[in-house]
Symmetry: C2
Subunit: 266 residues, 2 copies
């Protein structure tokens, strides 16, 4: 079997597993509460099929039905997902260090891992005073324009870097790097310096400083970043703090029971 094409939903809608996945994925884009027919429409499944599956999922608490009779993702899914080593598992050991960093900087502190060719944000601490960010926990984002993404991409397997840089790079602001060669040079710097800076590449008022998190085997399994308003401080002055916090997480991971390490490629 060829490796799954990065992030794309398989067109295999024949198996029930596939259908369930499509069904649940309907909640990804847009609103968190959907009617039955909205689910059917977004998932591309037949009404009766959705009706049946949704009924069963609701019985099990994977979906819940509110007083408005709309469906939403239920707690049962949350309970199972809480066991994901690269999700909540990672978050668990990282949180104290993220708090330290947060209290030191009073800015958004983010933790992300790589999934396919994108970043998935696993945790974010944000005070009321922090600059607004476009990211959401559990949400995906392209790697090149973000701080965590740059770190993850810099340490990703070559074929991932290849794919990402071969695809057109989405421009978010006038400063977003869209030339693969420029990005490649930035990635080399990231590897050399041990941290990454993304300067107003996602929004024109924010920039982030990120550092790699290693597991016991020395592989980069996550990245930690601070997002701050442009102009508030010199980015590189924050690098030591971010690196130190990331190092703390790495150390904690080394002694953690469950491996967080890289997934074996498809």
């Amino acid at each position: 079997m060829p490796p799954t094409k990065g992030g794309a939903v398989g067109r295999d809608d024949r198996s029930v597993t596939g259908k369930l996945f499509m069904l649940l994925s309907a909640f990804r884009s847009g609103r968190a509460e959907l009617t039955l027919s909205e689910i059917a429409h977004r998932s591309g499944l037949a009404m009766t099929t959705v009706h049946r599956l949704v009924g069963e999922l609701t019985e099990r608490g994977v979906l819940e039905r509110g007083s408005d009779r709309r469906y939403r993702v239920g707690l049962a899914l949350f309970e199972i997902a809480a066991l994901a080593p690269r999700g909540p598992g990672l978050r668990e050991v990282a949180l104290p260090y993220m708090e330290d960093l947060y209290e030191f900087t009073r800015e958004n502190v983010q933790l992300g891992v790589r999934a396919d060719d994108e970043v998935v944000f696993v945790e974010r601490l944000a005070g009321r005073a922090s600059v607004g960010v476009r990211t959401r926990i559990g949400g995906r984002f392209p790697m090149p324009p973000t701080g965590v993404g740059l770190v993850l991409l810099a340490h990703a397997p070559p074929e991932v870097r290849q794919r990402v840089l071969a695809a057109p790079l989405h421009r978010f602001t006038s400063r977003t790097l869209t030339d693969p060669e420029r990005v490649r040079r930035v990635l080399a710097d990231v590897r050399r310096d041990g941290f990454a800076v993304s300067d107003r590449q996602v929004t024109s008022d924010a920039l982030s400083v990120a550092a790699p998190v290693f597991d016991g085997s020395g592989a980069v399994v996550a990245a930690l970043s601070v997002v701050l308003r442009f102009g508030s401080v010199r980015p590189s002055s924050l690098a030591p703090a971010v690196r130190m916090a990331a190092r703390g997480i790495s150390r904690a991971l080394t002694s953690a029971p469950d491996s967080i390490g890289e997934t074996v490629a498809g």
Copy 2:
């Protein structure tokens, strides 16, 4: 159909949905990383069936396979679960207030909701100095002995209270209340006072102070608590702070877009 029996897994293992649910639930008890045959054994499904389903789930990222070839819960599940209004959704709006409470007390701050007849913990902030707790994010716990549980139970529908108090109450410590009538009186106090105190009922060195979180319609949708070492402070002196933080969350919920409210029964 009668309301789903509290927390029990449906005996309906005929549908694929049910099998998938059982399969994933195998990760609940014990280790986070399982071999194929462990999954088969714990889920009670046939090897070949598990093999097929696990293969498909892995392709989709719902499960991941580590370098040790063991399976673990993957990020795809985390991504979808992140959309649960009563899980991460609730957490999102609650976090700033929880942080305030944490900085004020420097102790474990917990947020929980009711699922069936138990508490599910949705978030926990714990500093390195905080007293150890038996709870885990995404984990379940009986309601009566915990602070958040008492609050949730006190404001739960009568039939839930009935069921919970009819069942034998698990004794954790010598101080755990096991007499339904005593608990009933405590619950009345909780409703009257607007907060609950659980004094060394789970572990003999910790106690917790909890307060209810309301949604826009005035229903109790969650509970917030602080867990502290016994003897460090007088419990009731913390009540105002906990109540205030809970009130802050309630206010924020009222203006939140997605309803967190109670699930429609059955």
